[in-house]
């Protein structure tokens, strides 16, 4: 099956797919904006890739606005300038045309909002920090934006168990600082930490840099408070480490990308802050050497290993050129970042130094440096964490986040380079090697439909052939919803639609996202 463009067909209760009077501002997902300059307004157009038509939801009336302004005085915003930031995603690649931004402060307010919208048939897009990379966090048409920005209270933190309970709009970095004061860390860490909300992290089952050590959110989230489409508040909080009482409903909402319910509070298990953190930044000549180093690392560093990331020389060049960062070691085809976290500095340093000695003397590693001080650790992490930022300065970015068997991870980058030849400006690969997660990024000076056609579905077919996932951690959102069949069989997709219909019969929660357009699954 090669074609992945589906017109959105009627589903559920609606029997007409109408392009109603509301404006359609669906742009090609990768618009060639001048890199790095604020926000420019691309003209509205309906690119073949999106093929999205507005479903027959209600349109916002004065009565609706009055209701919300009474419910949330001063927090029901209609000013287009304020809405601008929430209508466009972080990559500046998709733009919605919402006319109303709501900022509830309590679960009760969220419940009332959804009850009203469900009754009226108004579509809603839940929005956290708006840092998602697949266009899932912004409206496609005029959906009402339900922001968690003011749901930002920490509710409780138990220093004995390490269980943190907080509202969904708490910024991840703020939570890290908060639990950090008590000597704990958040079990996840990602480049977007300064802006992303924990509710959004949960809704997208965010992965990140610490997954290798602490596991996914599916394991560390102990409880959720979710508001369903009809306003029902589902409290599966129970901040308990073990609770085998019935079906584990919270797992449905983790990773549901706001399509099954709105997360309003989270209970999460926080590990103790490691007292000893070390970072090694190494250079390798070939990818097989990177893999071998990974295996040695697993063996020699074992339980203190907390992150294993890799990047290629093209990534290094990008951060050097666009962000003026310095390469601490001599130029190599591949770079590895190894982080150890433990409770004994002496013990960890000894292990790390023995490991480094081993890989240097066996010539697996050509050069490297080590850091134990916070300032240097931050500087070295920046080389990996800021690649995404550097890419946005390089032109139009085509992003792919794939899970692949570890030994094949870089093969895709090389195959893609060969396949595209000179059509692309840059083809780079980096990612969470330890988790088998490749971030493949391709850039071009401006949006190039021919290039896009060469990349997709080639990249998805390649991934499917190797039994990988077409979206390891970024989720499906708007951009990848129609490719999910490359990684999931039809019966699974049918069941997903059934669950969606059960929990959100009117389909008001984050429509046009996550699930493939109905036609493909019938």
């Amino acid at each position: 099956m090669t074609t992945v463009f589906y017109g959105s067909r009627a589903w559920g209760l609606f029997h007409r797919a109408s392009s109603s009077s509301s404006r359609v501002w669906t742009h090609p997902p990768f618009v060639g904006l001048s890199p790095g300059r604020g926000l420019s307004r691309p003209p509205p157009c309906r690119a073949a890739h999106s093929g999205v038509h507005r479903l027959p939801f209600a349109t916002l009336s004065q009565q609706d606005r009055d209701f919300f302004q009474t419910l949330l005085p001063g927090r029901a915003l209609t000013d287009p300038e304020v809405l601008e930031a929430s209508n466009v995603d972080w990559l500046k690649s998709v733009r919605g045309s919402s006319e109303l931004l709501l900022r509830p402060r309590t679960t009760e307010e969220v419940s009332q909002i959804l009850r009203y919208c469900n009754a009226r048939g108004l579509a809603v897009t839940p929005q956290g920090g708006n840092t998602g990379l697949v266009g899932g966090s912004v409206p496609v048409f005029d959906e009402i934006i339900l922001s968690t920005a003011l749901l930002n209270q920490v509710l409780s933190f138990d220093v004995v168990s390490g269980i943190l309970t907080c509202q969904a709009g708490c910024v991840l970095e703020a939570l890290s600082s908060f639990v950090g004061e008590q000597d704990f860390v958040m079990p996840l860490d990602l480049g977007a930490k300064g802006s992303c909300h924990i509710g959004g992290n949960v809704a997208t089952n965010a992965g990140g840099l610490r997954l290798l050590r602490y596991g996914p959110l599916r394991g560390t989230v102990l409880g959720l408070e979710v508001v369903l489409a009809d306003g029902t508040v589902l409290d599966s909080q129970a901040p308990l480490r073990k609770d085998n009482t019935g079906y584990d409903l919270k797992q449905l909402f983790i990773g549901s990308e706001g399509t099954l319910g709105v997360v309003t509070a989270v209970s999460i298990l926080c590990p103790r802050k490691p007292s000893a953190v070390n970072l090694a930044f190494l250079g390798c000549a070939t990818f097989p050497q990177v893999l071998e180093t990974f295996q040695r690392c697993r063996g020699m560093l074992g339980e203190v290993l907390s992150a294993f990331e890799f990047l290629d020389s093209a990534c290094m060049k990008l951060v050097q050129d666009h962000l003026k960062l310095t390469n601490p070691i001599k130029e190599s085809p591949f770079y590895i970042l190894i982080e150890t976290s433990g409770s004994s500095a002496a013990h960890d340093e000894e292990k790390l130094h023995r490991f480094l000695q081993e890989v240097m003397t066996s010539s697996l590693v050509a050069d490297g440096t080590v850091a134990t001080e916070d300032s240097k650790i931050k500087a070295l992490w920046a080389l990996r964490e800021r690649i995404t930022e550097a890419l946005t300065h390089d032109g139009c970015v085509y992003k792919y986040d794939l899970s692949l068997p570890v030994q094949h991870i870089y093969q895709l980058v090389e195959d893609m380079q060969e396949h595209l030849g000179t059509r692309a400006k840059n083809v780079v690969g980096y990612g969470h090697l330890g988790d088998g997660n490749l971030h493949l990024n391709i850039t071009s000076p401006s949006h190039d439909p021919a290039l896009l056609a060469a990349i997709e579905p080639y990249v998805y077919e390649w991934t499917a052939r190797h039994h990988g996932s077409i979206s390891a951690e970024h989720g499906l959102g708007l951009k990848k919803r129609n490719y999910v069949h490359f990684s999931k069989p039809a019966p699974a997709l049918r069941l997903m639609w059934q669950i969606k219909s059960l929990l959100d019969p009117r389909g008001i929660l984050n429509p046009y996202k996550t699930l493939p357009d109905r036609a493909s699954t019938d």
């Binding site: 240097m360 440096t369 001080e373 240097k376």
Partner: protein
Amino acid sequence: MAGRVLVGVKRVIDYAVKIRVKPDKTGVVTDGVKHSMNPFCEIAVEEAVRLREKKLMKEVIAVSCGPQQCQETIRTALAMGADRGIHVEVSGKDYENLGPLQVSKIMAALAKKEEASLVIVGKQAIDGDCNQTGQMTAALLDWPQGTFASEVSVDGDGLKVEREIDGGLESVRIKMPAVVTADLRLNEPRYATLPNIMKAKKKKIASVKPADLGVELTSRLEILAVEDPPQRQSGVKVESVQDLVTKLRDSGTL
């Protein structure tokens, strides 16, 4: 005229760490807190190593004054390229009272003992912010000084130093032996790479006591109290100019 460079390196609390004041207000919490080499000292070491790499100097000696842990700081300097290290052992009460006057006496004594042609130190330490050690060392030795150096070059039998001053940049030519203090833009310190870290393990660090150098450590300063800066008061938003004027009058500002 390749001589010896003496570089002073100080072990300080890492600049990315959040500082906490001790409850008894006698100082800041240092136990269990991450320490590293003072950033300006790193720049000083880098400059010294570059001079040696250009064959303008023949040997770089890294010096640190303090307890046992200072040896780690010296090792870092060795990993960056210094040839050998000297650890001046100072601990306990003496270490708490160790300030620029005492350190400069030590540096002066060592400069004479090692027959150094050049002493480079960071312009200031990020804990004390004194900005005095380099200047005092030069005075004790009666050597010329090029402070706040943003560029250093050898000029015949002396040095040409570009200094960062309030009005801009000042060029001075000083004869050697001399003291230079490193400012931020002098260079970008290299990372210590693994091969060099391995090599550094074999380099020598000599231990010496201040008494051996004829230096007496008593301080003429007494720390009375160390306190947090006052909490920032949150601002108040006003609706109109009239409100603003009223509020300013009420607070006595107008």
